[in-house]
């Protein structure tokens, strides 16, 4: 046993052994991870750090004298700022509205097209089309349609008997949020549609045959066959759409000019309307924590499922 050669360390130049380590040894991980993580630190880590620093400072472009001291001012202000919490509330409403709308619409579209054979590609393309539209284009198109005087929606409404009033879709405070949600849903429901369609196709047809042999009505089939099979996908979509809804900015900002404040719009307004970069950064940090929480939920969902798949 003592005269065994330990392989792997024949005489080599230093350079060659470093190379060996990087391409086929423990160093490979470093080779692969260092450049991307450095870049990530630079383009995301640095701004995040800067945001945290700003949030403990008072950088207000209109009042340069305030800057330079470490302070909790912004966080104290945040906790007592009714408008900020209203913005958070609006974000929540917006998120739930878009999630609900996208899921209903996406599921409806998926259920309607799942067994369609003729023009299958056409139907699918139609339902995916809105997703391919950039959010700013969605905002512009709906902005034109929502126009209180000349928009097609009001023109169509006026054609109805007894309807005369011009609906101020984007100016009326009680309508604007639903109106914005409609735009976001239109733009985003295809994500739900695609997920649902894939999930529905994964359900074996025999399950439905068995169910109908057992006398289940179409609604019962949906309840007891379809729903349990797409439960997981549903959960994933909910989290994903929550994240999308939370991040949403272009639709809200472009359609209301920033008058309707969700957390993202409030962040923007604090920086580019009030020029209070520190307070904006504080709101931004709050938003980061919310997205981190959503990401953890998402990972928890998908990774646990991944493990379960691997085990079975």
């Amino acid at each position: 046993m003592a005269d065994l050669k330990i392989a792997g360390a024949p005489k080599r130049s230093l350079l060659a052994s470093v190379r060996e380590n990087l391409t086929d040894g423990p160093g490979f991980l470093w080779l692969m991870m260092t450049p991307p993580l450095l870049l990530l630190a630079l383009v995301v880590g640095l701004p995040v750090a800067k945001a945290v620093m700003l949030s403990f400072d008072r950088v207000v472009l209109t009042r340069p004298k305030l800057a330079g001291d470490f302070t909790f001012h912004n966080y104290i202000r945040l906790f007592t700022d009714i408008d900020a919490w209203l913005a958070v509330l609006r974000s929540c409403l917006y998120m739930s509205g878009t999630v609900f709308g996208s899921i209903v619409l996406g599921l409806a579209a998926a259920l309607l097209t799942r067994r369609i054979v003729r023009f299958r590609g056409l139907w699918r393309s139609i339902f995916i089309l809105p997703w391919t539209m950039p959010a700013i284009v969605a905002a512009m198109v709906w902005g034109v349609m929502y126009d209180s005087n000349f928009g097609i929606l009001n023109q169509l409404l006026r054609m109805l008997p007894f309807v005369d009033a011009n609906v101020e879709w984007l100016l009326n405070k009680s309508i604007v949020l639903p109106a914005l949600i409609v735009v976001q849903v239109w733009n985003e429901f295809p994500v739900a549609y695609i997920f649902f369609l894939a999930a529905l196709h994964a359900i074996p047809e025999e399950l439905y045959e068995a169910a109908s042999v057992d006398g289940a009505s179409p609604f019962q089939q949906f309840l007891f066959v379809t729903l349990p099979q797409i439960k997981y996908v549903l959960a994933v979509i909910v989290v994903l759409l929550l994240i999308f809804g939370f991040r949403a900015f272009p639709v809200i900002y472009l359609l209301t000019g920033g008058r309707t404040e969700t957390l993202t719009v409030a962040t923007f307004n604090a920086a580019f309307r009030a020029y209070d970069f520190s307070y904006a950064a504080t709101l931004g940090v709050l938003a980061m924590f919310v997205s981190l929480a959503l990401v953890l939920i998402y990972l928890h969902l998908t990774l646990r499922r991944g493990k379960a798949d691997a085990a079975s």
């Binding site: 391409t23 490979f28 991980l29 692969m32 991307p36 993580l37 870049l39 990530l40 383009v43 995301v44 701004p47 750090a49 800067k50 945001a51 579209a109 309607l112 097209t113 369609i116 139907w123 393309s125 139609i126 339902f127 995916i128 089309l129 391919t132 539209m133 950039p134 700013i136 284009v137 512009m140 198109v141 902005g143 034109v144 349609m145 000349f150 097609i152 994500v191 695609i194 997920f195 996908v233 979509i237 994240i243 939370f246 991040r247 900015f249 272009p250 957390l263 962040t267 923007f268 580019f272 970069f277 950064a281 931004g284 938003a287 980061m288 997205s291 990401v295 998402y298 990972l299 998908t302």
Partner: protein, 269 residues
């Protein structure tokens, strides 16, 4: 009967969903100023003048070129650099991989407004405001996490044994990545590139706020300038929207299969 109801529902839903796109096209082809008098939803006299005026009266071509440049650079750099991280996350079971995963995904999901503010402050100090480079760097922060996450997904879909076989056949880990894994994910890489390209193309926040000079704007930034707070003309807005959206829509449908599977990464298999 059930069938007819089904078809009717399908057609109705499709019409509702497709209508805004149809309307955008109609509006874009309506003679300037006439959209306010439209009384039917079937258009009569159509024109391409609005598209022409974009090019003549606005620096639309310049903006499109800027967009192409920024999006290509941001997506290309992100892909080239991010790929290896996706590979490591997919293949190397290392300590802390979960943390990296969370960091990457969180970076992707942070609202861009949260990044905009500190990035603006940083760029101001570094003199990167009002430069194309600034916009590219900003967009890399949006695209890099996406490239990492998506490439992990594509590598995950390759059987691990392939690289095992390659390593026994005389490849280093790097060689196995290069000779076996890379050729097989190339179509996926195209999808990632397009995704990153589209992400950068669609963003107006960074170019609009990092750059003052109009001729350095991307098309997204230029497009949003059409929508003033009060009064704007519908027709050029819609024409510009179409020109802006068209490349993206075409790319999407061209790569539809892969785009969809890419976006599902981590979701349904």
């Amino acid at each position: 009967m059930a069938r007819i109801l089904h078809m009717a529902a399908l057609v109705a839903l499709a019409i509702v969903v497709a209508f805004p796109v149809y309307w955008m096209i109609v509006m874009a082809m309506t003679p300037l100023g006439f959209s306010r008098q439209i009384t039917t939803i079937i258009p009569t006299n159509l024109t391409f003048d609005n598209f022409a005026s974009l090019v003549v009266e606005r620096p639309m071509l310049r903006w499109l070129w800027n967009s192409t440049l920024v999006a290509t650079l941001a997506s290309g750099i992100s892909l080239v650099i991010g790929l290896s991280c996706g590979y490591a996350l997919s293949r190397l079971n290392f300590r802390g991989s979960y943390i990296v995963l969370v960091l990457v995904l969180a970076s992707q999901m942070i609202p861009s407004t949260s990044i905009l503010v500190p990035l603006y402050a940083l760029f101001k100090d570094l003199g990167l405001l009002n430069t194309i480079q600034g916009v590219v760097i900003g967009h890399i922060s949006l695209v890099l996490p996406l490239a990492i996450w998506m490439s992990k997904g594509f590598f995950d879909s390759l059987p691990e044994e392939l690289e095992g076989a390659a390593r026994l056949d005389g490849c280093s880990r790097l060689g196995a990545l290069w000779f076996v894994a890379m050729p097989l994910v190339t179509p996926g890489l195209a999808a990632i590139f397009v995704y990153g390209f589209v992400t950068s193309w669609n963003d107006f926040l960074f170019p609009r706020h990092f750059v003052q000079s109009e001729n350095l704007w991307t098309a997204a930034a230029g497009l949003t300038s059409f929508r003033g707070e009060y009064f704007t003309l519908f027709e050029p807005q819609m024409a510009a929207s179409i020109i802006f959206a068209l490349p993206v829509v075409v790319l999407f449908f061209f790569l539809q299969r892969r785009m969809v599977s890419g976006s599902l990464t981590g979701g349904v298999k």
